[in-house]
């Protein structure tokens, strides 16, 4: 039985697309068949994050308008044979697709894949409506900032009103050093305010940026963020995985770094 998840946040720039790509790759590492759909029509991004921008022939709008069959538009990932991307259209706008068309499209894809991940555009307008219409569960991405948490709370309210029963949270870009100094909200602080289930917390690491620069995934690499994304994928697949203790995992590195800085 396949599952349809929407990755959303309200606020832009908190890491929805990076999270979608890495969770998808994580699930593919668990030998699941996964399709990622970029639903941000007019501002496509998931293709470049995955390094597949040169392979696009057809897109989401082409499929919906019947210019091609869905299988013609799917792009197979460079690393994982079970991972596919359905890219968005760059030269159209959000009104090119309706929620009903998205539901029909996703219905067809559930026959072929174990997981369908929808990368939602920022905002709460039609793009959000399109992406959430077809989803059974939602992953809300936020960062430990007032603006991002406020938007996440709004989104959670809208998802609940839409009847989405399972809503989980990812807290992205945690800087353990700042949390330790009391200059950043901790994961617990965020959970305290949003009061939904935590799917995982991702530390703010250079490796995430570097991987995206190359159009590669951070998941599968020997980094804390890579492990954190892998754990999220496992949890989605139904495994029970304890949370990484970011505070203490980072402490050793932090201490070593501090040692060098002092010299």
């Amino acid at each position: 039985m396949s599952e349809v998840l929407v990755v959303t946040s309200g606020k832009g720039g908190v890491g929805k697309t990076t999270s979608t790509a890495n969770i998808g790759a994580g699930l593919a590492r668990l030998n699941k068949k996964v399709v990622l759909i970029d639903t941000d029509i007019g501002l496509r991004n998931l293709d470049v994050v995955m390094g597949l921008e040169n392979r696009i022939i057809y897109n989401l709008v082409d499929v919906v308008e019947g210019n091609c069959r869905v299988k013609q538009a799917l792009i197979r990932d460079k690393h994982y044979p079970g991972l596919y991307l359905l890219p968005s259209a760059q030269t159209r706008d959000k009104s090119a697709v309706s929620p009903e068309q998205m539901i029909k499209l996703v219905d067809g894809l559930t026959q072929l894949f174990d997981y369908v991940l929808l990368d939602c555009p920022a905002g709460i307008e039609q793009g959000f409506r399109n992406a959430t219409a077809a989803a059974q569960r939602a992953i809300v991405v936020t960062t430990p900032e007032v603006s991002a948490i406020r938007d996440a709370d709004r989104i959670i309210g809208l998802l609940q009103a839409d009847g989405i029963k399972k809503i989980d949270l990812i807290v992205n870009r945690i800087r353990v050093d700042m949390v330790r100094r009391g200059e950043m909200m901790s994961v617990e602080d965020v959970l305290d305010i949003l009061a939904i289930n935590l799917l995982g917390a991702i530390p703010d690491e250079e490796s995430v940026v570097i991987a995206a620069n190359h159009g590669e995934f951070v998941v599968g690499s020997n980094t804390l963020s890579g492990q954190a994304y892998m754990n999220i994928a496992r949890r989605i697949a139904g495994e029970t995985v304890p949370l990484i203790d970011l505070e203490n995992s980072a402490t050793l590195l932090h201490r070593v770094a501090a040692l060098f800085r002092r010299k």
Partner: protein, 81 residues
């Protein structure tokens, strides 16, 4: 000047948390933060009339229950203190 120093002597993480909590609560209730603070005081005043309360350590949660079209209950919990 003194007030400014006060603000900055507190770690900004706590300030952020308080501001987020207030913003989220006033968004959910659809009222401004002054009204929210006022309501918080009034609820505490009211409760204090009937019971002995430690106002500092008290947490109050308000649940707004709205029947939706599908017959399911839409429950919103707002923590105001």
């Amino acid at each position: 000047m003194g007030q400014r120093q006060d603000r900055y002597s507190r770690a900004s993480g706590r300030i952020a948390k308080t501001r987020t909590r207030l913003t989220v609560a006033s968004d959910r209730l659809d009222c401004n933060q002054t009204e929210l603070a006022q309501m918080q005081e009034e609820v505490l005043d009211l409760l204090s009339k009937y019971m002995n309360l430690d106002r500092e350590s008290l947490k109050i949660r308000i649940e707004i229950i709205r029947e939706t079209k599908r017959g399911t209950k839409d429950v919103k919990t707002i923590q105001i203190k």
